[in-house]
């Protein structure tokens, strides 16, 4: 499977060369390194998590490789002599940089496998990681703009040419925190409460964490102008609450709070309202050349790709500003067409499904909750960005996992794969050895 994934990436790379210059690209050093990294990851998984789901790495490798290929393609904008304005702000080292991040990501994967031999090890660090997550999230909000803002989004930590998007890592840390918190509180949350209109509402003091999370996400939204991340955090927390308590009331409360929060912010903040305007009327008035320029370019790019796409290197995805990061999916849509986009979505879907499968299979409730939440948030992230690009929902800026340019997102995605691999190993492998824990009962699975 891994060989197949690498082969697809190689072929895509060759197609870019053919499409852009009419001949095969030179020796793909970058891709040799990529293949070596993936093989290394494979060996590490075999070594440290021998029973892991064998589909996880090939899926991630395929997505990551195609992302690198698309960045390689985008840094070359159009064919020589292509008319019109060529928009590319990618340096010529973008491919290599992305490859470097892939290396860091694979290293992070291996580190997770080595350090986290059992998912519940993380449970010990529930509050530590929770605090860390909040701090990471908060740092860009308190940093001066020059050290925190790129393209209007105040979500970065920038020092000396090196930038990190801490939100990507904070999401993982907070997922651990939520999972740890909910595992210990889930009975209280699930059972105590008043029944109103046939729905059991939780007690106010149990409701507090939800409200805190809700307020926190809104604060991020306000200070960092990052609606997408807020939506992801909120969605993740609600999903994990639901998994932990199985109470529909939590879902209703969550959705109600989300709608209320959206309504308030849309009316309070011009740029939030603008997103709705752009979503509903992208082609009205001066929108296509003004505030809706980017999404309109993405939509027209998708439409231009049509069923089969223009072919790699033959389209003009560079007309969409920042196509290499948040909008990279529109580049795939343009050059690979509906067929390619559906394939990519299926790969993502498969990855999510494998994650949820691992969550279902594992016995440890903490791991179950953690992986269930992370898998859901992966699906939600794809939904938010791809749905935003294709006009299904209002557009908010989040990265496309594995595909988008940028190290933070890529490394965080690989850490996520590490956790998935670890948990799937537990789920599929022989019963784990009991670990002395606060009175938790081990269920030994037969077979």
């Amino acid at each position: 499977m891994l060989v197949f994934a690498i082969a697809v990436v190689l072929l895509a790379y060759a197609a870019v060369g053919l499409g852009l210059r009419g001949r095969l690209p030179g020796l793909p050093t970058d891709l040799v390194v990529f293949a070596a990294l993936m093989v290394a990851a494979h060996v590490a998984i075999r070594r440290f998590a021998p029973h892991a789901d064998p589909l996880l790495l090939p899926l991630a490798a395929l997505l990551n490789g195609l992302g690198i290929v698309m960045i390689y393609r985008l840094q070359q904008s159009g064919r020589n002599g292509n008319p019109g304005l060529q928009v590319t702000d990618l340096p010529s080292s973008a491919t290599t940089t992305q490859l470097l991040y892939t290396g860091v990501g694979v290293a992070a994967l291996v580190a997770v496998l080595v350090l986290v031999r059992e998912a519940r090890v993380l449970q010990r660090y529930t509050y530590t990681l929770g605090a860390l997550g909040l701090v990471l999230l908060a740092i860009p909000a308190v940093l001066p703009t020059s050290h925190s803002t790129v393209n209007g989004a105040k979500v970065w930590i920038i020092f000396g040419g090196f930038s990190v998007e801490p939100g990507e890592f904070a999401r993982l840390a907070l997922a651990v925190f939520f999972a740890g918190y909910l595992v210990s509180k889930r009975d209280v949350l699930a059972l105590a409460g008043r029944r109103v209109l046939g729905i059991t509402f939780p007690r106010a003091r149990d409701l507090a964490p939800v409200l805190c999370a809700w307020v926190a996400t809104l604060l991020i939204l306000i200070f960092e102008t990052d609606i997408g991340t807020a939506a992801l955090f909120f969605g993740m927390f609600i999903a994990m609450l639901y998994i932990a308590t199985q109470r529909v009331s939590w879902l209703l409360i969550g959705v109600a709070l989300f709608l209320f929060g959206t309504f308030v912010t849309a009316n309070l903040f011009h740029h939030v309202m603008e997103r709705f305007t752009v979503w509903l009327h992208p082609f009205a008035g001066s929108n296509p050349t003004g505030i809706a320029y980017q999404p309109v370019q993405a939509l027209e790019g998708l439409a231009f790709g049509g069923l089969f796409g223009t072919g790699l290197g033959h389209g003009q995805p560079y007309y969409t500003p920042l196509v290499q990061s948040d909008f990279i999916f529109s580049a795939f849509g343009e050059e690979l067409g509906l067929v390619g986009v559906m394939a990519l979505l299926l790969v993502f879907g498969l990855l999510v499904q494998r994650g949820l499968r691992a969550a279902l299979g594992v016995n440890d409730p903490f791991a179950k909750l953690l992986i269930g939440g992370l898998s859901f948030v992966l699906a939600l992230q794809v939904f938010v960005i791809v749905g935003g690009i294709s006009g299904l929902i209002p557009l908010t800026g989040v990265t496309t996992p594995f595909l988008s340019q940028g190290g933070s997102s890529l490394v965080a995605s690989w850490i996520l794969i590490g956790l998935l691999v670890r948990v799937s190993d537990s789920a599929r492998g022989p019963a784990p050895q009991p670990i002395q824990d606060e009175g938790m009962t081990q269920v030994v699975r037969a077979g």
């Binding site: 064919r79 020589n80 008319p83 019109g84 296509p288 309109v296 027209e300 033959h314 939904f383």
Partner: protein, 498 residues
């Protein structure tokens, strides 16, 4: 917890299903709507990645490409190229990244392949992976005649001038040249700024190179209008036949008391000549008098039958001549001037060619056209010209009378064009009528406009007839400035068709 996880799984599934459905909606069902959104930059660029069809001149039996799209080396972008830019510019027009003129405009959908008649071909090329291609537009233009016409205009020495040649029996336009012209190749750049500069240069050039003089009614027809006046006089029974005498006093006193003179105030024969003599000598007073008797509405009616005051497509829209219902146009004193192609009469060289054409063709005016046929990629016939009559200005008998008179213009030693279009100049039997028109400018500013309308009927050594209209602005005498240009065009055409 697994029950909740399964529900979460369903939620994930629902999200992916929604995404897949929406992607299908955007990329399969909305493509056309999005493609036609104004300002779609990709669709705009796309026009350069397909090979736009060629425009070919086929009037001499062989194909001469006058506009084609060439692949820029090392790219997949095509750029328009006009091998003989200025020569054919009035015909081809130009194709810029923003707009088109001429055939490039009127046949745009065929050339760029978006015409519905090309849809089936484009669908098959999508499935077979072949490159989408535009249709080839084949024109009636004779490269020999066109080249001769443009060279003659250039050699004429700087007067704004134009030539149209057509086949009287079909209406096929054989040549359409205008001077000064422009090179459409300067407008094929992909650089918008460069394009705007180049266009502004042309548009603000006082010489007006972008003006297609061949089809623009900017010139008084002068004496060439006597073809219309005499046609009307024969048809209305004012004059029985070519030997019927007409009054040609010098000067002619107009109803308002003003005097109308012959050219150079010369007497016209004995003052009572047969109409044929008045015609080849081009006496103003004879035809002015006929015009007064015909009255302005009747004269205008015949002018319209000869194609004036009409708008039609050749395929770009033209209105080749004007005999307007201006203030006082029915005043007999002004009608007298209208009858000799002055006052408010205005024509283009196309109109002059149409006058000669109708007479040659026995009184039936064929509708002028430029597109002989359109071939889809793979040489399938998309459309083919079918010559149609525009009008029947005169009976064959009257056409015969006028034809005889036009013969004398070039073959009677006293005829106005004997020296320049008659036996001394060429052995080809040219039938013509000169015009030397006051253009409203003072002689110091600009001498008279030289006009010549002529035809060569089919006969020995002439496989297909040809009618030519020439106007040289400020050229002076029609016989001296315009007739030689017509002769050169005719010679070149007949040589290519011998």
């Amino acid at each position: 917890m697994n029950r909740a996880l399964l529900r979460i799984s369903l939620a994930c599934l629902a999200m992916f299903v929604l995404l897949l459905l929406n992607m299908n909606y955007v990329q399969a069902f909305e493509t056309n709507k999005l493609a036609t959104e104004p300002g779609n930059i990709r669709v705009f660029d796309e026009q350069f990645t397909y090979q736009r069809g060629s425009i070919v001149a086929t009037g001499d039996g062989n194909d001469v490409t006058i506009a084609e799209s060439r692949l820029i080396k090392g790219t997949d972008t095509y750029q328009r190229y006009y091998p003989q830019g200025p020569v054919y510019a009035p015909v081809t027009g130009f194709d810029t990244i923003y707009s088109q003129t001429g055939i490039e405009q009127t046949a745009n959908k065929l050339l760029d392949g978006t015409d519905p008649r090309l849809a089936i071909h484009n669908l098959t090329s999508l499935l077979t992976g072949k490159q989408k291609q535009g249709a080839t537009v084949e024109l009636t233009i004779s490269p020999a005649a066109q080249q001769a016409a443009y060279s003659a205009l250039v050699d004429d020495g700087g007067h704004p001038a134009a030539v149209v040649a057509m086949n009287p029996s079909t209406g096929a336009i054989l040549a359409m040249a205008s001077y000064p012209s422009y090179d459409p190749n300067v407008l094929t750049t992909f650089n918008g700024t460069q394009l705007n500069d180049a266009y502004d240069n042309l548009a603000h050039d006082p010489a007006q190179p972008l003006l297609n003089r061949a089809v623009t009614p900017n010139f008084p027809p002068g004496s060439s209008f006597k073809i219309v006046t005499s046609s009307a006089a024969f048809s209305q029974g004012l004059v029985a036949n070519t030997s019927t005498t007409v009054l040609a006093p010098e000067p002619l006193q107009l109803p308002n008391g003003n005097l109308l003179n012959n050219d150079g105030d010369e007497t016209c024969a004995d003052g009572d000549p047969p109409i044929i003599e008045a015609f080849y000598l081009s006496c103003n007073t004879a035809f002015a008098g006929l015009g007064i008797r015909l009255t302005a509405p009747v004269l205008r009616d015949y002018a319209s039958k000869f194609g004036m005051n009409q708008t039609f497509d050749i395929p770009f829209q033209v209105e080749p001549g004007l005999f307007p219902e201006d203030q006082g146009w029915t005043d007999p004193s002004l009608t007298a001037f209208s009858a000799i192609g002055q006052f408010d009469d205005e024509v283009s060289p196309l109109q002059e060619a149409m006058l000669a054409s109708a007479i040659e063709n026995g009184g039936t005016l064929m509708k002028p056209y430029l597109v002989q046929q359109v071939l889809g990629p793979g040489l399938s016939l998309i459309e083919s010209a079918s010559p149609t009559a525009l009008s029947h200005p005169v009976t064959p008998q009257v056409a015969g009378y006028v034809k005889a008179m036009m013969y004398e213009v070039t073959h009677n030693p006293s005829g106005t064009a004997y020296e320049t279009a008659g036996p001394p100049a060429t052995s080809i039997p040219i039938y013509g009528k000169t015009g030397t028109a006051e253009n409203g400018l003072t002689p110091a500013e600009s001498p008279d406009d030289a006009v010549f309308s002529c035809f060569v009927p089919a006969g020995p050594g002439v496989s297909s007839p040809i009618a030519v209209g020439v106007i040289v602005q400020g050229g002076g005498f029609g016989a001296d400035a315009a007739a030689p240009i017509a002769v050169q065009v005719i010679q070149a055409y007949l040589k290519a068709h011998s």
